[in-house]
């Protein structure tokens, strides 16, 4: 179920209009000529698409007498009017929901965190709708309507259907979410995989700006991957894509929740590392923070577990590079807290397994708190609104 926007609609739903808008959003202010160059459109098509967007107030033109050439079309730059509309984004984890209110430029105006009362769909839905309503009340202070709600969570999510097909950490199977959340909140709702949502935000505003091909790899409770190929986020024909967590790294490795053995996630996700640290140290380590602390204090067994996880992550990233040849891989996620424990092994594993010039791909890290993931959810709502 694609969200519909009955109250207020984007003035032009042609692919060109959407592309012009998102180009200005990510790169603006830009002259029309710059928009044409970046979007691969003719200047005439850009001029045609810009006009209704300015009339409806989504784009504004900077009066800039200096930039006006003696002859030819005016070189005034256009930019998105961030204050024209607001959006809300929610990131659902296993324990809490992180929510943000953003403007049309996806700048965070308000951020909130609320604990979950349970993981059943009805419990999560109730907390999500309450939080969305609270953010909408905050929006009243800005005197601008909220035009959409994005919800992002880990797992196999069918955005087109608005359904969570499978979420391991919530233990959900085929849960329709966009429909009920839309009915309860009165907003058009977009549901997407959380790493894909984060990747949209990185593409528009983060370390992916200006790149046509990059990957975001998130390490922590799960190991996920968002892919941008030919300038667009990969969603997969059937909703699944970017499942780097199930790249095989060791057929004799530990069992994975997916039913296989030795998947990257079964070696390098938080729970796998914790289990293995308990095993090799023989100590009842309480959680990930304690495991990291143990390794930081020099425990050789714990350090070896992180080293092995890093090597596996590096090889998983190399598999992505060998198949897609991205310009850049951005590593993020809660797992960055342990990054010093396996940074070298990630690089070594990547270098060892990258084939030929795939090794030229730049691998960098970028800490992104959950508010940035929630911002990604808001970005998917903006995508739906502008028809991208």
């Amino acid at each position: 179920m694609q969200p519909t926007f009955p109250a207020e609609t984007f003035p032009a739903h042609t692919p060109a209009a959407s592309q012009v808008f998102t180009t200005v959003l990510a790169h603006g202010p830009l002259t029309r000529l710059d928009v044409a160059r970046r979007a691969g459109l003719s200047p005439a098509a850009v001029t045609k698409a810009v006009r209704p967007l300015i009339e409806a107030g989504y784009l504004v033109e900077d009066a800039d007498a200096e930039a006006r050439p003696a002859l030819g079309r005016p070189a005034n730059r256009v930019r998105v009017d961030g204050g024209r509309a607001l959006f809300t984004g929610l990131k659902v984890t296993g324990d809490e929901i992180i929510g943000v209110l953003t403007d049309l430029c996806c700048r965070i105006l308000v951020a909130r965190r609320v604990p979950l009362t349970g993981r059943a769909p009805r419990d999560v839905l109730a907390v999500a709708v309450d939080l969305a309503n609270e953010l909408r009340t905050e929006a009243d202070g800005f005197g601008v309507p909220v035009l959409g709600l994005g919800i992002a969570l880990a797992g196999d999510v069918d955005r087109a259907e608005g359904t969570v097909r499978y979420s391991p950490f919530l233990d959900w199977h085929c849960v329709p979410l966009a429909g009920p959340a839309g009915a309860a909140s009165g907003l058009p709702v977009t549901v997407d995989n959380d790493v894909r949502a984060l990747t949209v935000a990185e593409q528009w505003f983060g370390d992916g700006v200006g790149l046509s091909d990059f990957a975001v790899v998130t390490v922590g409770a799960g190991i996920g991957c968002g892919l941008v190929v030919h300038g667009r986020v990969v969603s997969g024909a059937h909703g699944v894509a970017g499942e780097i967590g199930h790249v095989p790294v060791d057929p004799d490795g530990p069992p994975c929740h997916c039913g296989n053995r030795g998947c990257l996630e079964a070696v390098a996700a938080d729970a796998a590392i914790l289990a293995r640290v308990r095993e090799v140290t023989g100590s009842d380590v309480a959680g990930t923070a304690e495991a990291v602390a143990l390794a930081h204090r020099g425990d050789e067994g714990a350090r070896a577990v992180y080293a092995r996880a890093g090597e596996a992550i590096g090889r998983g990233i190399a598999t992505v590079a060998n198949l897609l040849g991205p310009q850049r891989v951005i590593i993020s996620g809660e797992g960055l807290a342990a990054y010093d424990l396996y940074a070298r092994q990630i690089r070594d594993g990547f270098a060892a397994a990258a084939f030929g010039s795939a090794a030229r791909c730049e691998v960098r890290t970028r800490p992104l708190p959950f508010e940035e993931w929630a911002r990604g959810a808001a970005a998917t709502a903006i995508q739906s609104f502008v028809g991208r």
Copy 2:
């Protein structure tokens, strides 16, 4: 080095014109409205792009009075005039070069095979240019000029530079090929990875027609993969992409030529299978055909080697499906000769390792002789000519 076309140039090098042409090439005859719908362009943009292509004779309009509506723009269908120009394509293997002469619709008019006299760049270049010249002589009989030459071979190929960065089976490192071949043949030359070239042909004329996301996996001397994502063949930011042969399937497996252990290619390529069959049977099996025959006669050891290779191929395909979620995977290559020996294991390996709805991806086989690969090379020359 991108090929240049000094003698005759495509009338419009805008992205829209190229897209209109390739849309008609793959799906035509089409009305302008159908072209607009399929290409995601406005009808006005299509009408504007079609005009010079008709004037230059690359497209022709079918006069079809029946289809003319009482009001509005004529609904005549346009199609590519195959006889308007010719192209040549060469596929280089370790032993021979397969060459084809095609028309502008990439239909094969003439096909030839010539053995290599050596694998050094100068030897391969000499045979390639002789074959290209021979095909050009054949073209004289059609009274239509040859406008481009495509050369496809396995390995890390930088199409933009026209350079073979690394070809394992020719043992080439950083060999400039487009420049010398262009100088010797007098034709604009496009050099590309052979599986990518085959994928272009499959996208335009084969089992990829109408799909926005699919993969071609080739099994045989090497294990390769061509990927189409968002309707375009993936080339990789640095020239490498689709290297499914180096997906890890067994860290304790046999060494691979890339320096790692247990890559898919080190388990399931022809040479790997042959070596393993010799090892487990203790018999001096002469080549792949004999290994297949031995397995067909029921040798348990040989059959187990094929079974293991099939399982590994299935898991490699699942990795592609988990990362990209293609609509379809097409298995081809010389290795299909042994397909009955591992078809079940490929399907089982895929089913076991595909994550969630990625398993919905259709996996099918399609035998494609080397002439089809050479046709793919001709398709890359057509791509260069039309500016795609």
